[in-house]
């Protein structure tokens, strides 16, 4: 891991996470995130070869149930919470932007 996190990397990560950071935020966040990653380097000391990764703490297997449609009786309340709803659909700005 080693190399310290750069400001450019943080900007790139913000873009991937669909966030826009101000210069000031970049300035603040870069060393803070670098410090957490640096702390995480202590695991380098551990030998984890041959260990299975744990995704989930309880050894559950897939559970199947009958594929029966169940009603949801509060559809209007769900739609009412949409920022912009039209004809029972959630409306968003054009995917590729407005025409110039």
């Amino acid at each position: 891991m080693a190399e310290a996190l750069s400001r450019e990397e943080v900007a790139r990560v913000a873009e991937l996470a669909m966030l826009r950071l101000t210069d000031e935020e970049l300035e603040t966040f870069t060393p803070q995130l670098a410090a957490v990653l640096e702390h995480a380097e202590d695991v380098e000391a551990l030998d984890v070869h041959g260990l299975e990764p744990t995704q989930h703490p309880y050894p559950l297997v897939n559970v199947f149930r009958a594929d029966v449609v169940e009603g949801f009786d509060n559809r209007d309340a769900a739609l009412a919470m949409g920022p912009e709803v039209e004809d029972d659909l959630f409306r968003v700005p054009p995917a590729h932007g407005e025409e110039p």
Binding site: M1, L5, E9, V10, V13, A14, L16, A17, M18, L19, R20, L21, E25, T28, F29, Q32, L33, A35, V36, L37, H39, A40, E41, D42, V43, L46, V48, L51, E52, P53, T54, Q55, H56, P57, Y58, L60, V63, R65, F72, N74, R75, A77, A78, M81, G82, P83, E84, F90, V92, P93, P94, A95, H96, G97, E98
Partner: protein, 475 residues
């Protein structure tokens, strides 16, 4: 104030009305709320309506259930149909879920009456409640100090006797640490023992709901009420909830207790001396009650913090991708495309700590770093589970401090990493999926409460309640 069990027993026997119990709670909230700010929402009228329904049931000769008439509060990240559920985030301000979380249904079914939704660190990310978009909660024991977090509002509401019972969620210590800092009991059950259906997801493989109470017995009845299999949560354990109430009277005779060396002045640094002293006294108290107490080393727990702060943000970055201004929450219309709107919505809607965690997680999961960070953290998680399992071959429960320190002043841990270090004792249980309880045990610096943590194996709630009851008596 009466305990939850006292209220329920009086209501069930007709000696106290649920209406009186709820009125008392609402009056206490009204008197203290300007100072404490434990709540995001108080639903007084609804609570009084529900209380009357409980009273009518009693009058009609039926039993409303084990929590009859008990006023309760829920952390504001649990969905309540028609009642705002904000996660203390601007992005969900005003959002009213169209359905109830399973825990909400179970509590109502047991006769409990919801009085309000409590404040938290935004999306449960934090250890002080300072990250709430609606302002911090103050510690009822001293309003210049934090209540801990992220379930700080729920802890404060119980500590201030606004309600005898509240619920929080614990992803890395968010129930146990505020319980310790406010001097209440706080339980994180086994992962999967309590349904997460309707709990707004932070880190799905770690999140678990549990109670805050003033007594161990109240926590036991609360756990038995909310636990059990739920087909609507695919990670719910398909087994009946363990009976823990009957463990309360068992005493500690023959109980095998391991004190975690790394958290007692061993490899992990930064503990207040009074916190370590109280934890040693707690171990002595268990020994005096007949327990076999020994020190045990769990070396991998040293690395819990590092693994957690890669795994939890990674899961959070994925879970919080849903806040895009399309189906719910507050949209910021800016730019000309869907993507512009999403970026503007997220940028305006999330606070600094949430942004940091999303970025940390996105980074840990990104191409080129996945194996080095996320993959390695998952293997460390396996190592921690193996270490715990080895320890539980020799011990019934383990003991440690809950938090390295007592309640601290606002702004004292402004640096994120410094704040994260608060969770060093609580994180390993989340990584392992194991239950753990924080019990107030005497006081530390400035006469502030110290919490002692009892940890148990998967579904080992009965044993931790057994030890917790002994500690409560000895405290």
């Amino acid at each position: 104030m009466r305990t939850a069990l006292e209220i329920a027993n009086l209501v069930r026997s007709g000696e106290l009305s649920a209406t009186e119990a709820v009125e008392e709670s609402l009056a206490s909230i009204e008197a203290q709320e300007p100072q404490i700010h434990a709540f995001n929402t108080v639903v007084a009228d609804r609570a009084l309506d529900r209380a009357r329904a409980v009273d009518q049931a009693v009058a009609a000769g039926s039993d409303p259930g084990p929590l009859a008439g008990v006023p309760i509060a829920l952390k504001d990240n649990m969905c309540t149909s028609g009642i705002p559920t904000t996660c203390s985030s601007k992005i969900l301000d005003g959002w009213k879920p169209p359905y109830d979380a399973t825990i909400v249904e179970k509590l109502a079914g047991a006769g409990a009456v919801l009085v309000g939704k409590t404040n938290l660190d935004e999306f449960a990310m934090g250890s002080s409640t300072e990250n709430s978009a609606f302002g911090p909660t103050r510690n009822p024991l001293n309003p210049s100090l934090v209540p801990g977090g992220s379930s700080g509002g729920s802890a404060a509401a119980v500590a201030a006797n606004m309600v005898p019972l509240s619920f929080g969620s614990d992803t890395g210590g968010s129930i146990r640490q505020p319980a310790a800092l406010c001097g209440t009991v706080g339980l994180k059950p086994t992962y999967g023992a309590v349904s997460r259906y309707g709990l707004v997801a932070f880190a799905s493989s770690l999140d678990q709901i549990g109670p805050f109470t003033n007594t161990v017995a109240d926590a036991a009845v609360a756990f038995e009420t909310i636990g059990g299999h739920d087909p609507r949560d695919t990670t719910s354990i398909p087994q009946p909830v363990p009976n823990v109430t009957e463990a309360l009277e068992r005493g500690a005779d023959g109980l095998r207790v391991g004190v975690i060396a790394e958290m007692m002045g061993g490899a992990i640094e930064g503990f207040e001396p009074e916190v370590l002293a109280r934890t040693r006294e707690a171990a002595d108290a268990l020994a005096a009650a007949g327990a076999e107490v020994e020190e045990v080393s769990l070396e991998s727990t040293i690395y819990g913090l590092s693994a957690y702060y890669l795994i939890a943000p990674a899961e959070a970055s994925s879970n919080l991708a849903r806040y895009d201004g399309v189906r719910y929450g507050n949209r910021v219309a800016q730019g000309t495309s869907t993507a512009d709107m999403m970026v503007a919505t997220r940028t305006a809607g999330f606070g600094a700590e949430v942004k940091r965690r999303i970025m940390l997680g996105t980074y840990a999961l990104s191409a080129g770093y996945y194996d080095a960070f996320y993959g390695k953290a998952q293997r460390v998680r396996t190592l921690i589970i193996d270490d715990f399992n080895a320890a539980y071959e020799k011990f019934d429960v383990l003991l440690s401090p809950t938090s390295p320190c007592v309640a601290f002043p606002f702004g004292a841990k402004a640096d994120p990493l410094t704040m994260y270090l608060n969770d060093v004792c609580t994180i390993p249980s989340n990584l392992a999926g194991h239950p753990a309880i924080s019990v107030p045990f005497r006081t530390g610096a400035n006469d502030l409460p110290v919490g002692v943590q009892v940890l148990g194996p998967m579904l080992g709630e009965a044993a931790i309640f057994q030890a917790a009851a002994v500690l409560e008596t000895a405290a």
